[in-house]
């Protein structure tokens, strides 16, 4: 049995996770592609930049987000003036925080898959009349699917679990930014809150299990049937 309040928290977490992953996916893929395929000065620096949210404590990331995207921050002001977009204290801000925290994981997963692509297949596609873009879409992208799926799972799980950057950036507003981890945090702070913590943690686990099962199913559908001939 789940109260309406719990449902609200779960729904919000799902919304935040979904937006975060959707936001990050194209950017992460582009970064993975660039890091896997291009050689340019500053490549290692870009790589380090991508890893930053992993290395910095989440609170610092949240604080940097506050400084940049807050109402007084350069990006925040610009977003509000030009697009009327406000992120602070909004669920979209929570998604942004989760997205940034998920980025390094997603980039790495996709990069591994992109690096494993047999370049000769792209060459074959080109001789068959496919332009660079078409070959990318029909050959490289599908061959990178395992990494993309792994990125989706990792990114979603990370988003569902994101706490430090979120609470620092958008605070803990029930119904707006209070995702599962934030609710768990609140419960952990009070003596005797363990029962609630357990309940909420179990919900998180169920969510991620569902995401995993879904992704496994997608993977199997997309290329599980291709019998591998190991002989």
């Amino acid at each position: 049995m789940m109260s309406a309040e719990l449902w609200g928290i779960v729904a919000l977490s799902l919304r935040v996770g979904a937006l975060a992953v959707a936001l990050t996916l194209p950017l992460a893929f582009a970064l993975a592609w660039i890091l896997a395929r291009w050689r340019f000065p500053g490549r290692v620096l870009l790589d380090a930049l991508v890893h930053l949210p992993l290395v910095l404590p989440p609170v610092v990331t949240g604080w940097l987000l506050l400084v940049a995207f807050g109402p007084a921050g350069p990006v925040g002001r610009w977003l509000e003036e030009w697009f009327g977009v406000v992120l602070i204290f909004r669920w979209t801000g929570a998604a942004l925080a989760a997205a940034i925290m998920a980025l390094p994981l997603m980039v790495r997963a996709m990069r591994l898959s992109i690096e494993a692509i047999d370049l000769r297949l792209e060459g074959a596609a080109r001789t068959l009349g496919a332009g660079r873009w078409h070959a990318f879409r029909t050959v490289s992208l599908p061959l990178a699917l395992p990494g993309i799926f792994a990125a989706l799972v990792l990114g979603f799980a990370r988003s569902i679990g994101e706490f430090g950057a979120t609470i620092t950036f958008v605070s803990n507003i029930p119904g707006e930014t209070q995702t599962l981890p934030l609710a768990i945090y609140s419960a952990l702070q009070v003596p005797g809150g363990e029962a609630m913590v357990t309940r909420l943690a179990l919900l998180s686990v169920v969510l991620s299990l569902a995401a995993l099962v879904l992704s496994e199913w997608l993977v199997r559908r997309s290329h599980g049937e291709r019998a591998r001939r190991g002989d």
């Binding site: 506050l66 204290f89 609470i167 803990n172 507003i173 609140s186 009070v190």
Partner: protein, 233 residues
């Protein structure tokens, strides 16, 4: 090791004051205590789990009570170390003027903004703030306009960064930040006393534990705390 001081688990907000006290203690020829600052809840849970620590200084009575109930405290060692006050703050450049009184216009002053406070559902400072606001009959009107932060420092940061036009934090936090301005001080009568209790843990094995506790509670110790803005209990 003999030259390691006692392990002190202390609420983060005491960091500056206890750090200085530890230095003063060390200057007297004692081993400097190992100070571990974190949220009271995290530290209390560690003590609850039987961690080998000597002293616990909590930011509120609730966690100390919980430890007492669990039989983790050494009898007769609980005392109040310091007290604190709540203040209403605004970003440094803000012109807002508010007097704290019955049904004062806090919601109106916030406008479309939010009130930064430590999470009232979780953090002691937030709970005190909630009581104080309820005391003046303004809680219901600002409850939908809160920005509940992870701790007092995070609430302070929200005001410093002008993400929130107003906030409620401890006097000690407001005092030390140049980016915020104290708008008003909450009368002590508006909320339960904000007290930092100290006690020796049952798991304590360090011979200096009692002496350091006594030092903190001595005139010298209290003077250091006062220098950091803490009130006498």
């Amino acid at each position: 090791a003999a030259d390691r001081g006692p392990v002190v688990l202390a609420a983060s907000s005491l960091q500056g004051a206890l750090g200085e006290a530890a230095d003063a203690w060390a200057a007297r020829g004692h081993a400097r205590p190992l100070l571990s600052f974190a949220a009271s809840s995290a530290l209390a849970r560690q003590a609850m789990a039987g961690a080998p620590a000597d002293l616990f200084v909590s930011a509120d009575e609730a966690w100390m009570d919980a430890l007492a109930r669990a039989g983790r405290l050494r009898g007769g060692t609980r005392a109040t170390l310091a007290a604190n006050r709540l203040v209403l703050i605004a970003p440094a450049g803000s012109k807002v003027e508010i007097a704290i009184q019955r049904r004062f216009a806090l919601a109106a002053a916030l406008g479309s903004g939010r009130l930064a406070i430590a999470d009232p559902a979780a953090v002691p400072a937030g709970r005190y703030a909630k009581t104080a606001l309820a005391h003046y009959g303004v809680w219901d009107s600002v409850a939908p306009k809160l920005a509940p932060a992870e701790n007092v420092r995070a609430a302070l940061a929200l005001v410093e960064r002008r993400a929130a036009p107003l906030g409620i934090v401890y006097a000690t936090d407001a005092r030390a930040s140049r980016r915020v301005r104290q708008v008003a001080l909450f009368p002590a009568s508006s909320h339960p006393p904000i007290r930092y209790p100290v006690a020796i843990l049952k798991a304590s094995r360090h011979r200096d534990a009692a002496a350091f506790r006594a030092f903190l509670l001595s005139l010298h110790g209290r003077a250091i705390l006062a220098r950091h803005g803490f009130a006498a209990p």
